[in-house]
């Protein structure tokens, strides 16, 4: 039987393509999964940080009605202590 070198070559190329395609697909799936994992981490961290900001701003809002929370807000660094008068800090020389 007469052989066809063109057909043989084409079949080899086709075989190579059939081997490479699943490898590339698997790699793509892996990268996409990793991207999704990073996105979820980013969203979780971002959401919690935003929630903390909201909580702190509500606490600040609450401090206008109830100043007893002020020392706590000053302690955690959310609210700055109002500047004390100079006369109060000066030592009295009697």
């Amino acid at each position: 039987m007469k052989r066809q070198p063109l057909a043989l070559t084409l079949m080899m190329v086709l075989f190579l393509n059939a081997v490479v395609a699943p490898i590339l697909s698997y790699r793509f799936i892996q990268i996409t999964r990793e991207q999704n994992r990073l996105k979820m981490q980013y969203n979780a961290v971002n959401g919690k940080t935003q929630l903390l900001q909201q909580l702190l701003s509500e606490a600040l809002e609450y401090s206008r009605k109830d100043p007893t929370i002020d020392p706590l807000l000053e302690k955690i660094g959310v609210k700055t202590r109002p500047a004390t008068p100079v006369t109060a800090t000066k030592p009295t020389n009697k």
Binding site: M11, L14, N17, L24, F28, Q41, Y42, K48, T49, I69
Partner: protein, 141 residues
């Protein structure tokens, strides 16, 4: 040509049949090569597309990963302890000031009474998972 008519006809017919069969066979071989070429082009295009997608996704991943990892490390190193500290302080304050819990803290912790532990806030925490506080809670007095 001294052969009788009948065998000559049969020979001619068989030659014609063989020729037709050979033509059909050649046509099939050509079609097979054409189909092979089409398949190679199709699978090559698919592989090229996949390769480009993989390269693009890989590049995006490499650009994104350091930022997110840095952000997560910063969260675990600084923000998470800060959240724990803030919550424990707020919970302690809510025990002494009962108004604070329903007005502010419970919106974020999702409980009617302040919990004893700081456990709700963490990487795998549930109560802080909601992104926005519920709208129809009790208003601060």
């Amino acid at each position: 040509m001294t052969d009788p008519d009948l065998p000559a006809d049969a020979k001619t017919e068989s030659l014609v049949g063989l020729d037709s069969w050979q033509q059909s066979f050649q046509w099939l071989r050509n079609m097979f090569v054409v189909v092979l070429i089409l398949l190679v082009v199709l699978s090559g295009s698919l592989n090229l597309y996949l390769y480009r997608q993989v390269s693009l996704a890989n590049r995006q991943l490499n650009e994104t990963r350091p930022g997110v990892e840095k952000m997560v490390a910063e969260y675990q190193g600084k923000t998470f302890p800060f959240i724990s500290m803030v919550l424990s302080n707020f919970q302690a304050f809510a025990r002494t000031t009962p108004d604070f819990g329903p007005a502010v803290l419970n919106k974020y912790l999702g409980t009617s009474s302040p919990p004893a532990a700081v456990a709700p806030v963490g990487p795998a925490a549930k109560p802080v998972a909601t992104n926005a506080p519920p709208a129809n809670r009790t208003k601060p007095r």
